[in-house]
Every structure is written in C-alpha cells, then in structure tokens.
C-alpha cells in the first residue's frame, strides 16, 4: 500500500529525513518509534500530503504522492494531537463540515453512526469548545474517519490523554482496524505501540534503524533495541516508558 524509497526532507539546511525506505502492506498496522526530532512527524506529514519531500519517491497504491495527491487525500485519514476541530461549531456541525469537504454520501446517517461509535451522540448539539480533552480527541478521530479512509495515519494519538481516554482510543483504533484498514502510527509509548501493531519501526536522526514484526518481539527486547539505537542520540528528550 505504502511504498517509500530514499525519502529525504530538509528544512532549509536542516535535515529531518535522510533517506527513509518503508513498505506497508494493505491491512497492516505499523508503529513508528523514535525520539523527538527523529523525523516521525515529518514522515507522516509527507504521507498525508501536507509536506512535500525534498527528494526520493513516495507512493500510495502505486500512485505518486506529488502528482496524484488529490486522489490520495480522498482515501486518507490523518489524526494528530491537534484536534482540527472548530470550537465554535457544534460536534455535529464539525463532522458535517468535514464530511461535505470529502463529499461523503449519506452524510446525516454517517454522522449519526460515527457519533454513536465515539460515544458523543448525546453531545451532538454542544459546541465543540465545551468538550473535555478526551472527548475532543474522540471527535477528532471521528473527523479523521468520516470518509471511511483505507489508510489511517496517526501522529502521537496518545499525547496529552489521560489513562481512561487512552483506553477508549484503543478500543476505537481496534474498531478502525476491524474494517481491515491500514494504520501507520507514531508514538513514544513502546508498550501501547507493541500491543496494537504488526510491525515496529524505529526512526532515529531521519533514518530507519530497526524494523521487526511485533510477534517476534517482547516488550523487554523492544526496549533494549530502542535504547541501543537511541542512546547516543542527543535529540532524545523523552525517556520512553
């Protein structure tokens, strides 16, 4: 589904990615780990067509990102710790707004369905600005899947969530996966990452340094590999749990 070769991206003279190769099969779930500044967000934003790569190729289903980004965007869901929800619209209006931009058929029914799934049906007429952090994150996820994307890109979905919201998010992610969608997620949280995905990828200083199927790894092994690859990286600010 995703085919990335030699992907680089620099911001002026600063390199964020220096030659990333990555393949993701349809229906597969991949977690990208790495310290801050490793290039995780840059990689995801390139896949989401929000950023252009400086060089290298990136294809989704054989279509080049830079030339057919329009088709690709229709099949892509992207969620980050930024909710992209408008505070002054109601919960329902937010979904309708994005649904219209994606030209979702049967929008009213789809909206109701989604709100039931994320448990916000009773708050449908509340302004989004009045929601709690956890509810907002759920609405944000509903926004990202309003058009039933084949490919989900999740950038630090757990950032800023309390334990309860994080668990609810996991239930939702499982539901998303149940529809045989491809998921690529970045996180700092090794344990959650390992539990939810088929393959682990570690990114450091803009390069893929480690790649293994989740089934072949224990949490202890993953921790050791992570430390081995990220220890000498001065950019690592957060210590993974």
């Amino acid at each position: 589904m995703i085919h990335v070769r030699g992907l680089t991206r620099f911001y002026g003279p600063i390199y964020a990615l220096r030659g990333v190769d990555l393949d993701v099969e349809a229906g597969e779930s991949v977690t990208i780990l790495g310290p801050n500044g490793a290039g995780k967000t840059t990689l995801l934003r390139i896949l989401a067509t929000l950023l252009n790569p400086s060089s290298g190729e990136a294809q989704i289903d054989g279509k080049d990102l830079s030339t057919s980004s329009y088709d690709i965007r229709a099949r892509l869901g992207f969620a980050s710790h930024r909710s992209l929800i408008y505070d002054n619209l109601t919960v329902e209006e937010n979904l309708i707004f994005y649904g219209k931009l994606y030209r979702v058929p049967g929008l009213a029914a789809r909206t109701e369905d989604l709100l039931r799934t994320v448990g916000l049906l009773s708050r449908r007429r509340s302004r989004a600005g009045t929601l709690s952090r956890g509810m907002l994150q759920r609405l944000s996820l509903a926004r990202a899947i309003v058009h039933k994307p084949d490919l989900m890109l999740l950038d630090e979905p757990y950032a800023g969530l309390d334990q309860e919201s994080a668990e609810m998010l996991e239930v939702l992610l499982d539901a998303v996966r149940g529809e045989a969608r491809t998921v690529v997620m970045t996180t700092h949280n090794l344990e959650r990452g390992l539990g939810r995905s088929d393959r682990m990828v570690i990114l450091t200083k803009g390069r893929v340094v480690f790649e293994a199927p989740s089934s072949s790894l224990t949490l202890q092994q993953l921790r050791e590999s992570y430390w081995e690859h990220c220890r000498q990286d001065s950019g690592a600010e957060e210590v993974p749990s």
Binding site: L50, Y70, R73, A74, F97, R143
Partner: protein, 223 residues
C-alpha cells in the same frame, strides 16, 4: 463546480462561527465609530467643511477595518493548525483560497453596509450613490483578494498583527488612490467620462491580483 461547492462549504463554516460568537461584527462596529470620531476631531478644528475629507476618512476606515478582519479570519484558520484539516481534504488548494476570499468579501461588505449610513449621517452627505457603491465593491474585491493571500502569510509569521499591515498597505495603495479619487469625483459631481478611468483601473487591479493570488496561494499553505 467542485471548487465552488467546497469554497461555499468553507464560507458556511465561517458564517456559523461568526453567527455564534459575533466577535467580528461587534468589534468592527465599535472600531469604526472610534475611527470616525478620531478623524472628525483631528481634522475638524482646522478645516471648516469636513465633508471634503469624507472620501479620505471613508477609505482610511475601510482599510483599517478590512485589515483587522483579514487578520482575524486568517488567524482563526492558522491557529491550532486548522488549515491542516482543509489541506487534508480532497479539494483543490484554490478552493480553500476562494472560500476564504469569498468569506472575507462577504464580511467586509456587511461591515461596509453598517458603516455607510453612519458616515452619511455624521457628515450629512448621501453616500448611497451607484458609483460610490461600485467603487466600494470593486475596492473591496481587490482588497479581499490580495489580502486573503497576504493575511495567510502574516498569520504564519511572528508578530502577525504588525506584519499584515506592513505587507498589505503598500500593495493595496493603488486601490486606495483609485477608490478615493472615484468617491471624491462622485461627491464633486464628476461625469462618467471623467471617472470611468478609475473604474477600469479598479477592475484591472482586481483581475490581476485575483489571478496572482490564485496561482500563489498553494505555495503559502503547502510545506
């Protein structure tokens, strides 16, 4: 077709937001009254017929109020990365530009409709004349078209409140000159032959800057 529909969806969203908060119109109303008062007192003492100043004051007030509106509309989108949500959608970048520019045009026009009666009353002058309305409309189209582009850039920069007027004012100067000339010409009872040159000039400005902004907008929002 697709572009227009997406653009209208964005306008609809901005309308609802404004309808709920009423932030823009309430602040615009107070702001315009203050501008009029300031101008009235800073010139009235030295010039006996304040009506002579109306074209200038009108366009100074429109420029300031328009700049505030543009800045606010752009920062609503850029703050909290909302623009990412628009960029992720399968709509052309130009649809986002058209939506925001159309929204700015509508909001600025409503502000102007509130403003004109106040001006007419305070300066005892009928401003509801076809050519003045045309001048205001054409001027606003040009202002909104290049303003939407520049306010988006300003919203991404630091010190955005200062940045927007600095970027915008020298570029829209021709609009201000043409519109002031046109308004003054109408008040002085000029003929169509004398004034047509400014109407044509404004139309040319609008077309040129609409085209340039449409072409370059995607480079502003796309990383």
């Amino acid at each position: 077709m697709n572009t227009i529909r997406s653009a209208l969806t964005i306008v609809w969203k901005d309308m609802i937001t404004e309808w709920r908060t009423k932030e823009m119109f309430s602040s615009m109303f107070v702001f315009i009254l203050l501008v009029i008062v300031i101008f009235k007192f800073s010139f009235d003492l030295r010039i006996s017929n304040a009506a002579l100043l109306v074209p200038g004051i009108l366009w100074a007030a429109l420029t300031f109020a328009g700049t505030l509106q543009l800045g606010r509309a752009a920062s609503l989108e850029v703050e909290d990365a909302h623009v990412d949500g628009l960029l992720l959608a399968p709509v052309p970048r130009s649809a986002i530009y058209v939506g925001k520019a159309l929204g700015n045009l509508v909001f600025m026009s409503i502000t102007e409709l509130i403003m004109l009666p106040i001006f007419s009353a305070l300066f005892n002058l009928n401003l509801f004349q076809p050519l003045i309305l045309l001048a205001i409309f054409l001027g606003t189209v040009g202002f909104a078209s290049v303003g939407t582009l520049l306010s988006t850039m300003a919203a991404y920069s630091r010190a955005r409140e200062v940045m927007l007027p600095v970027l915008l004012f020298p570029i829209v100067l021709p609009i201000v000159i043409a519109a002031v000339k046109l308004t003054a010409g109408v008040i002085d009872g000029g003929t169509w032959q004398e004034l047509a040159v400014w109407v044509r000039f404004l139309i040319a400005f609008d077309i040129i800057f609409l085209a340039i902004s449409l072409m370059t907008f995607r480079f502003v929002v796309e990383g």
